[in-house]
């Protein structure tokens, strides 16, 4: 199963895509992905229920978050109950969260935290290692990001290789036509956030990119 693990909808301040249009785009373009995770900036979208849309489109639509730390941006994946516990302990709107807190709270809640676009200036983990050192507790980073420029993905992959991190892929789509540019291939089927967390913890996945084909 292939999931795009990093996408934004109009729920994010800079997102311009409606979720139903992501689905229509994936189906019309026959994109080789089975679903996506909505990782809205600095929030968890408790309100939206995409189950009917998922059933109609035959796609897996899951929800996560993208929060901000001193090491840059971090995706958080977890079952809704875990996220609820996390949002009670961490202010997701705070753009100065401590990565160690995010990792610890995610771990305690049964969720998974993944630094995203780690090769990006300022908002990527690699840019801050010189200042803060190698963070403890990271096991997965995003090694393919659809919004990467220049050598950002190469930096991410080198970091993952050096530190022994596993890699995921996500499009970082903010508009409809950018969904599915990068994704993550899992060896198991995933139908909900709990199964996604289980699969990430199991470690049997790989980051993939479709950017060359899409360009």
């Amino acid at each position: 199963m292939i999931l795009d693990l990093h996408a934004h909808s109009i729920k994010s301040d800079d997102g311009r895509a409606k979720v139903q249009n992501y689905c229509q785009w994936i189906r019309t373009r026959n994109l080789p992905i089975d679903g996506f995770v909505l990782t809205e900036h600095r929030q968890f979208d408790f309100e939206s229920d995409y189950s009917a849309l998922a059933a109609d489109s035959g796609l897996v639509i899951l929800k996560g978050s993208e929060v901000e730390t001193e090491y840059g941006h971090v995706l958080v994946f977890g079952v809704a109950t875990a996220i609820r516990r996390m949002t009670e302990q961490l202010d997701f709107t705070n753009i100065r969260l401590a990565l160690t807190d995010v990792l610890a709270v995610a771990h305690a809640a049964g969720a998974v935290a993944v630094p995203c676009h780690p090769g990006r200036p300022r908002v990527g983990m690699a840019a801050h290692i010189g200042t803060y050192g190698i963070p403890q507790g990271v096991s997965i980073v995003e090694t393919y990001n659809g919004g990467s420029r220049d050598n950002e993905d190469a930096i991410a992959q080198a970091l993952a290789s050096e530190q022994g991190y596993r890699g995921i892929g996500g499009s970082d789509a903010h508009i409809v036509s950018h969904i599915g540019r990068c994704a993550t291939r899992f060896s198991v089927d995933i139908h909900n956030e709990a199964e996604l967390v289980e699969a990430l913890k199991a470690g049997d996945f790989e980051a993939i990119t479709f950017r060359e084909q899409a360009a």
């Binding site: 301040d13 800079d14 900036h41 600095r42 901000e68 840059g72 941006h73 705070n94 753009i95 100065r96 990006r120 200036p121 300022r122 908002v123």
Partner: protein
């Protein structure tokens, strides 16, 4: 971000409490009103430089000649920000523009732009911590009909306090 607006300085970096206070004081309060009159040549040059081909934007002799749809986004209010608006420590850039034309703006017509702060929020990006101010200008004709609105997203890329 494509357009540098200004360098700002303050003796401290902005805190979330400052953002909340600014939202309470400034959101949705019109702080500037400015009259504009445009020429046909302005509209046509704007459109042609952008590669526009529709004659209603490029040809002043066209019976429906009017401002190009993105023209309202180019307008500057008399004051960029309200009096007393907090100074954020950093470099001001134009992070985004939106235009929503409602009725045609014609050359030679006097129009009024009324401007307010529509949103204030913070986030971090490639260039560090950023404070966004969404400034909305609504453009009216003399009969007070809304002709267009234009949003400018001003981002201050924060610098460490001295």
């Amino acid at each position: 971000m494509s357009t540098q607006i200004s360098e700002q300085s303050a003796d401290h970096n902005i805190e979330e409490a400052d953002i909340r206070a600014a939202r309470e004081q400034f959101l949705n309060v019109v702080y500037d009103e400015k009259e504009f009159i445009f020429t046909a040549e302005q509209f046509a040059d704007f459109a042609l430089a952008c590669g526009e081909t529709a004659p209603r934007y490029t040809d002043p002799s066209h019976p429906d000649f009017q401002a190009p749809p993105t023209f309202p986004a180019s307008l500057h209010p008399g004051k960029r920000l309200p009096d007393g608006y907090p100074k954020f420590n950093g470099l001001g850039m134009d992070a985004g523009k939106a235009a929503a034309p409602v009725r045609p703006i014609r050359p030679g017509e006097t129009v009024v732009g009324r401007t307010h702060v529509h949103d204030i929020y913070t986030k971090s990006g490639r260039s560090g911590r950023m404070v966004f101010s969404l400034i909305r200008m609504e453009i009216f004709d003399k009969a007070n009909n809304l002709l267009a609105s234009a949003d400018t997203s001003i981002v201050i890329r924060e610098r460490p306090a001295q």
